[in-house]
Amino acid sequence: MIPTVGGVMLITFVLFNIVGGSPAVLALGKNASPQALEEFDEQRGFNKPVVFGWWTRTRAYPDTDFRRGMGPWAGVMGAAQIPEAAGGGGLRLTAGEYVVPLAFDLKSETIYRWEMQYRLAPGGHAEWRFEGAAPSATGPLEVAPRWQRAAAQVRTARDVSVQARLVVKSGVLELRTLRLRRRMPRPWDSQLVFYVRQLARLDLGVSLATNQRVTTMLKAGILPSLSLTAPILFVELAVAVSLALICAYFRNSWLDRSLVVTAVVLMSVNYLVWIILGQFVAGYQLGWFPIWGYESWRHLLLPVLIGVTSGLGGNLRFYRTIMLDEMYKDYVRTAFAKGLSLRGVLFRHVLRNALIPVVTNTIIALPFLYTGSLLLESFFGIPGLGGMSVNAINSADVDVVRGVVLIGAVLYVVANLLTDVVYALVDPRVRLR
């Protein structure tokens, strides 16, 4: 159980922190200011190294490869692309002082490093100059007839905004790439550690859309979700098991056959169609049920009915298979041989034994009660976790999605464990070790 919970945490981490590009861009959009993005990252720990590392990116200056374009240098006076005739693919700085364009002020009391690939013909003279750093620092660039890498470090002072300048005293400085890195005070201060710590505090973050704590939202949504899904589960269970018993009782008769056919057809109708049809016909045209809202039990009738109908097909088939599976066991043959009636065998022997998989199957379904029904809730305006998740996914509300996925998975693991325990309780042949 512990390894699986760890795995679940790992998968959510990999999914949202590593695979998924930048959650900040997902949430705030491509046109958000770098500062807003950086604040988003800072709050959620996304501006740290992924697992381990001293150096991390900052949005103050995006990595630029001048072969692809000018990047933030596009508006800087005097800066130009190297003409195609001269080989192209670089930034050309003639004599003068150039302030490196930063999107926002650097953090105070932090070490930053500029990393570049440059070329400086013999006779040229250029240097880095950092204004406002403590102490005011310069870093001369050595002459490089070919492309060469260099780095300049600066430590920012408290409450003074630092300006980084490239000063070309003579000759021409050509840049191919330029990037800025921030040094972490502790290399273990990473996204992974941040995430694990956050979870250890039982903190699932803050929703972007509502600015509420995700844990609060989860607590608020669980009751509406349960009030919808719990009736669905139990009504469906009762109906499906009774129909399965009827199938087993009249097996291979026209009744059994038609029930099976109905089940397959029910299974094949899309969930959406049930919902839309139910709302349109039973809610709108016939006016039997209210269509929208979460005010009284009457509002739950239609969604529960739809939920039961859409899940019935699959469950009926499943339980029928279980019943029939039992019907061909030796003890049933013995019971028949002793002269018991079909009804006696069915209810006293088969049902009892068939209940074991029924019970385990039901327990496994329990965690899904919690996540609610994504579609039913958003269609019927029930303020549960399902509708909340759909909204969160649509607005790329990373923390909410992650929270619901995580809790759902953990509950599933718990339910799995519970199944084993219950299995041992109801079936004396199974013993827990």
Binding site: M267, L272, P367, A409
Partner: protein
């Protein structure tokens, strides 16, 4: 060498027998026909789509014609004329786009989703399952851990989350469904391979000094292939349904007429009396999914010897 050369014979016999059994039932034959019809429609849709993309013009299923909005299906149109029936046989939607053409495009996307997700999920499931079952030990433990972790993720929500992270569009649908649905197959294959691992033919192959990979993929895999086929036939309709959800919720297909997009569009028009788009899309989904479910069941009955005995009893 003999072992490998003789292998095709029994398995070919198995497939031949399966095929014969499938054709025996009239219902299954009918469903296979339905699938074939939709497959042809999907291929036509793909060709149509490519053709218009090549010529760089708006395809018929996207062409907006505001003079022809809300046309009911051809047969019901007044004044009745055969020309009508042929022109927009299933009517037009709120922007005057042809419903038939859009439904065909939907079939194209449904088949794409079914096939591509299978192409992602099946190799993952088969390879991991075979490796876990055959090698056992640490490898097995790791793979079991991996799939129980993925299995713990809450179904549709996890698929949507993957799609959200990967980005909206068909790619997100493929990856979301493909990367989450290999678990069941992996579990089944692992169980089957475990059973086969100690069978005499595998021991013989091992005694002959064949490499593990050769034993797994040339000897064991053909014997557990029926699991793959059954899983594929049952996953296919499930993938189609999931795509419909995702597109409906606006996370799936963008800018193309998938069935989910069409339902989402038709839902709002239902209140204005435009029932035909909804009806025909529903029928199309029902037909495909039902046909696949029936064929999948028939395949399972034909390929799973355990069940075959049962049914006879």
């Amino acid at each position: 060498m003999n072992a490998t050369e003789q292998r095709p014979a029994p398995s070919a016999a198995l497939w031949g027998q399966t095929w014969r059994q499938l054709r025996e039932s009239r219902l299954t034959r009918f469903c296979l026909g339905v699938i074939a019809v939709f497959l042809v429609a999907a291929l036509y849709g793909e060709a149509n789509c490519l053709w218009h993309r090549l010529r760089d013009e708006t395809p018929a299923y996207q062409r907006v014609d505001l003079d022809k909005r809300y046309l009911p299906p051809g047969i019901l149109r007044r004044p009745f004329a055969w020309r009508n029936v042929v022109q927009h046989p299933l009517g037009t939607d709120n922007l005057g786009r042809d419903v038939l053409q859009r439904t065909i495009q939907g079939a194209r996307i449904a088949f794409l989703v079914g096939v591509v997700t299978a192409l992602i999920a099946i190799p993952i499931g088969v390879i991991l399952g075979c490796v876990a079952g055959y090698f056992g030990g640490r490898v097995d433990e790791f793979i079991v851990w991996l799939y129980s972790t993925v299995a713990a993720m809450p179904g549709l929500l996890f698929i949507l989350a993957v799609a959200m992270v990967v980005g909206k569009g068909l790619q997100g649908v493929y990856l979301g469904i493909g990367l989450t649905t290999w678990v069941g197959l992996c579990r089944l294959i692992r169980g089957e391979v475990l059973k086969h691992r100690e069978r005499p033919y595998v021991l013989a192959a091992r005694a002959l000094g064949f490499s593990s990979w050769r034993i797994i993929f040339r000897h064991i895999l053909p014997n557990v292939m029926h699991v793959v086929i059954i899983t594929f036939s049952l996953r296919f309709p499930a993938a189609i349904s999931t795509e419909v959800f995702m597109s409906f919720l606006g996370i799936g297909v963008q800018g193309e007429p998938s069935w989910g997009v069409m339902i989402s569009n038709a839902r709002l028009r239902l209140w204005q009396g435009m029932w035909w788009e909804m009806t025909f899309v529903t029928l199309a989904i029902l037909a495909v999914v039902l046909a696949f479910n029936v064929v999948g069941d028939a395949l399972r009955d034909a390929l799973d010897p355990r069940l075959r005995v049962r049914e006879g009893a």
